[in-house]
Amino acid sequence: MIPFQLDFNPKDLTKVKYSQSQVDNNGVTNKTSVELPVIPMNGSKSMLLHVIEKFQRAINHMQWTTGPTLCENFGKQFKSTLEWDVIAAAHANLVAGFQLVVTAHIATKFLSDAWQRHKTMLQSIKKPFKLSPTERSL
């Protein structure tokens, strides 16, 4: 079970910056960039989920559409890529493959009924008295 208050400060994580520029039909160059956090060695489950959540949003923002790009970039989100490389080796060609890899990786970290447990926790959560509204934001 993940604690309601995260066990890390997202601002403390080192980040990798991705930039790309595209020229539209009118010849105007649009630059897009995004910074994504890196999971340190022995990073917690919360960190993994935080990075995945950020990465999923970056996929739309940066318009990454191919499996190899997704797998390669996601591998950069790990300080130690050894574990990721082993899992990713089998599925690197399709976007669907990337989702399978992520799912497989998460499955190694969580129990098989994590979804139900987490949903129940979310619905019965109690705000800690000392938790300020700012701390409830990411």
Partner: protein, 107 residues
């Protein structure tokens, strides 16, 4: 992004989702999230929350009343010439006064 929205979004990736085709929604709906937020508050705060919600409803009701006032209680001859930003006093002056009652109640 708030913590509660973050926790809701990660429901999409956690293992153990029971329904592939006809199962429950994968994440909580906005209504369920609001309910969870409300339930997360201590009871003393819940009362304040309810009052705030009630006050908002009352204010909306006041807006609706003003709207109906405009629609049904203005002199039809003048109504077409009215601008949308007139003051409340102006609206009061232009009310139809058939026996002091709104048109749909007169007779």
């Amino acid at each position: 992004m708030t913590l509660i929205r973050f926790y809701n979004s990660i429901l999409e990736v956690l293992p153990g989702y029971p329904g592939a085709a006809n199962g429950p929604a994968r994440t909580l709906s906005n209504y369920e999230l609001k309910f969870a937020l409300f339930e997360a508050l201590p009871q003393s705060y819940q009362k304040t929350f309810r009052l705030a919600g009630f006050k908002l409803s009352v204010e909306s009701l006041a807006d609706m009343e003003a709207y109906f006032e405009d629609q049904y209680m203005l002199d039809p001859a003048v109504a077409g010439q009215q601008s949308n930003n007139r003051g409340r006093e102006q609206r009061t002056l232009n009310r139809v006064t058939i026996g002091g009652r709104p048109p749909f109640l007169s007779k």
